[in-house]
């Protein structure tokens, strides 16, 4: 586990995940308090990534449960393997006969069978799905419940038991308790508001678009060999783009794609032509692209005047 907040920053950094102190504090608290974290925020700011990176940096197994409409216990928790159970009973018929041999009365026979009861209702016939796997794992795990807002309300209610007590009731067997408490990360895109009961059991973390400084760090880390000047310009331009009224604001993952494209095209600085042609990696809607193009033109014009002003300044310096 993590020793301190700075330790979180450092170790996530080793996994190429740059986080600010907010994120680190919440992660640290989650580990120390053994509470689930509900991560919210716009798409593509690294919510899912956070779960993956956490597992890596702690050296734990990552168990991922992708939520979707119609996800039920059978797919999330466990399934009882009737077929296997039946098969076993068939195969073991002779053995059962042996056990029953010599029993005097029906009662005795039933008692004898009852002694072996556990064999037929045991975890052998339990087919574990992600949630159960996380609970019964021999080592502690990181359980990533992705896009929990996509799941149905009933499933959410069902998650409550798992998240608060780390235990699951299986009708055939009884209640299973976690051997090691998993570290739970829930992510949500806010397509619907989660219930208060669920939220109460979690720590809350809101991941927002990064500040320009941090975004520059991220780009440099994730796209090796990118030009310093380009990074700076991209980060600055994105700040401006995100202020526009867009259907989908460009997130970090899209930014990275874009910068990769620009680097492949061997760009050193933003220029009109190529940027326009590659904008489609950044924007996903036609209307957005149009708006972004206009903003880009304004940006380039601004830059020109600024450069010009700077040039005039330096000229003056020369004259003096």
């Amino acid at each position: 586990m993590f020793r301190s907040i700075d330790d979180v920053i450092r170790r996530l950094g080793e996994q190429k995940y740059i986080c600010n102190k907010n994120v680190a504090t919440v992660v640290y608290l989650a580990c120390a308090m053994q509470k689930p974290v509900l991560v919210e925020g716009p798409a593509g700011v690294g919510k899912t990534e956070l779960g993956k990176v956490l597992a890596n940096s702690l050296g734990l197994e990552l168990i991922r449960l992708q939520c979707y409409e119609g996800l039920d216990e059978g797919k999330a928790l466990y399934e009882w393997e009737y077929a296997k159970q039946l098969l076993y009973t068939q195969i073991l018929k002779d053995k059962v006969g042996e056990i029953l041999q010599g029993s005097q009365s029906l009662k005795q026979a039933v008692d004898r069978i009852a002694k072996e009861d556990d064999v037929f209702f045991s975890e052998k016939f339990l087919l574990p799905r992600p949630l159960l796997r996380a609970l019964v794992a021999e080592k502690s795990t990181v359980l990533l419940v992705d896009e929990v807002d996509k799941s149905d309300t009933e499933f959410e209610a069902f998650l409550l038991e798992v998240l608060s007590d780390f235990q699951i009731s299986v009708p055939e067997i009884g209640t299973l308790r976690a051997k090691h408490l998993p570290l739970v990360i829930l992510t949500s895109n806010n397509s619907r508001e989660m219930s208060d009961a669920l939220k109460r059991r979690c720590l809350h973390l809101y991941l927002d678009f990064p500040e320009p400084q941090r975004e520059m760090e991220i780009i440099k880390l994730k796209v090796p060999g990118v030009g310093e000047k380009l990074v700076e310009e991209v980060a600055y331009l994105l700040q401006r783009l995100r202020k526009l009224d867009l259907k989908k604001k460009p997130s970090i993952s899209e930014t990275l794609d874009w910068v990769k494209a620009l680097t492949l095209l061997n760009m050193k600085r933003l220029d009109d032509q190529l940027v326009q042609e590659t904008l489609s990696t950044l924007m996903k809607y036609e209307g957005d692209i149009r708006k972004a193009e206009e903003e880009l033109k304004r940006y380039l014009a601004d830059r020109k005047t600024k450069l010009h002003a700077a040039a005039v300044e330096s000229d003056k310096d020369l004259l003096h």
Partner: protein, 469 residues
């Protein structure tokens, strides 16, 4: 510390953020782990444990500043102002404070505790004394929701501010009588003056905190409920802004409700094939009965909205509702009319719901400055868009049916009703007035499957229920 956290979460609660006792305890546990020494960690720990909704984030930050930093900020600011005024750097300022304190030591019998703390620059002590005074000032002022000014005045009286001022003046006079150098005296005068100003600043700060604690203007439930029942025709611009939130909220609640209901209603007849397959595991003995999962077709919705002034708000919220719930329907098409019909479906595809509603209502598509003519609109719809109506369509008309004595063309409704799954008419007028004057409701009603008065959000919500069924 514990008390302060509990008090802070009380403050949050009174301002409309839900904080449960268990969350409170968690906040304390988190603080133990993070420690109170690190201001950033302190804030983050509280935020992560106490605030669970993004919408509450801003309010939290605001209240946090007020509660934990308000005093400190005021004090720091006053100190900074003092330094600038006296032309001292921090170190010199400290020395100056020492000097003042030693002077105060001589006069301590003549000063009240608060004056002494204030003049010595012991702002922590000042804060404690102020809070004590505010605590004895009973809750009555708070109950009566007085203004910040009045409240701070009351506390000022409680700490006997005039006495503090008098003592300060005396102190200065005494220093003069001791024959201090004129420039020292002048500096002292300025210093004392600034300290008194800082005191009144602190008083204000305190008053603001106390009043916020009492939850002056919580975005109350009652208010929203009142709005839900308020008739559309009396809406103010402010109401509309607030209702936008409510509509989104209601839409969400409705979606959840519907998903539950569908689960239950989805079971149909006995399914032989599935039952056989499922029960293979029992050797073919049908232990578990498998029922048909009824496939539910998502309804298609066509909304035809009158957007003349009289029904504008009903149309506005209906459009908003329908589009907030878009994933419940397989297709939504929307038309608006006053006299001509115009399709606004595309507006909603390209814009945010809010903007699209505004654009549709502001006359981007059709001329809104003419007299309502239902007959003409129906006729035009029939000629241009009738093919959009299918047997799966739920057809929704919103309008008051006031036709300005034009030809009603009610045959169009008859055609629509025959072809569509259901035809619903919503009228934002009171049922009692239907059919009077130029209202053609009497002619239109027989062709509709369902007619409802729809004068406020609550009624609108009920109708939404019916469309999705």
């Amino acid at each position: 510390m514990n008390d302060q956290i509990v008090e802070f979460s009380n403050l949050l609660r009174r301002n409309g953020i839900r904080v449960s006792p268990s969350e409170n305890m968690e906040a304390l546990r988190a603080l133990e782990l993070v420690g109170v020494g690190d201001p950033h960690g302190f804030r983050t720990a509280l935020r992560a444990t106490l605030v669970k909704r993004f919408a509450d984030m801003r309010l939290f930050e605001e209240l946090f500043e007020l509660f934990f930093l308000g005093f400190g900020k005021a004090v720091a600011e006053s100190d900074r102002r003092l330094m600038a005024q006296l032309g001292l750097n921090p170190k010199e300022f400290q020395e100056w404070l020492e000097q003042v304190r030693s002077l105060l030591e001589h006069r301590k019998d003549h000063l009240s505790p608060i004056a002494r703390a204030l003049l010595a620059g012991d702002m922590g002590q000042v804060e404690r004394l102020l809070r004590e005074a505010a605590a004895t000032e009973d809750g009555e002022a708070v109950e009566r929701r007085v203004s910040v000014g009045v409240y701070s005045h009351r506390v000022a009286v409680a700490i006997q501010i005039d006495r503090v001022e008098q003592e300060t003046a005396d102190f200065l006079a005494w220093a003069e009588s001791r024959g201090a150098a004129p420039e020292i005296l002048e500096r002292l005068a300025r210093y004392l003056d600034e300290r008194l100003k800082a005191l009144s600043q602190l008083l204000r700060e305190l008053a603001e905190q106390e009043l916020r604690k009492s939850g002056q203007t919580p975005p109350g439930r009652e208010r929203l409920e009142y709005l839900m029942q308020k008739s559309f025709s009396y809406y103010t611009a402010e109401d509309i802004r607030r209702m936008n939130e409510v509509v989104t909220q209601l839409a969400r609640r409705f979606k959840n409700l519907l998903s539950l209901r569908r689960k239950k209603a989805d079971r149909g007849r006995f399914d032989v094939k599935d039952t056989l397959r499922k029960n293979l595991q029992y050797g073919g003995v049908p232990f578990e009965i498998q029922l048909d999962r009824r496939k539910r077709e998502k309804p298609q919705v066509i909304v035809l909205c009158d957007i003349s002034d009289s029904v504008l708000n009903a149309s506005r919220f209906m459009l908003q509702f329908v589009y907030s719930l878009q994933e419940l329907y397989s297709k939504v098409r929307s038309f608006v009319f006053v006299s001509e019909v115009g399709e606004v479906t595309q507006l909603f595809e390209e814009n945010e719901i809010q903007t699209a509603v505004e654009m549709a209502l502001k006359g981007e598509v059709i001329d809104v400055y003419c007299h309502s003519n239902f007959g003409r609109a129906f006729d035009m719809f029939y000629r241009e868009h009738f093919s959009a109506v299918t047997s799966k369509t739920t057809f929704l008309v919103i309008g008051d049916g006031r036709n300005n004595y034009n030809s009603p063309n009610d045959w169009v409704l008859k055609e629509i009703q025959q072809k569509a799954k259901q035809l619903i008419w919503l009228n934002p007028e009171s049922r009692l007035t239907w059919g009077f004057g130029d209202s053609e409701m009497a002619r239109y009603v027989p062709h509709c499957d369902f007619v409802e008065e729809c004068r406020n959000i609550e009624q609108l919500y009920k109708v939404i229920d019916r469309i999705a069924a």
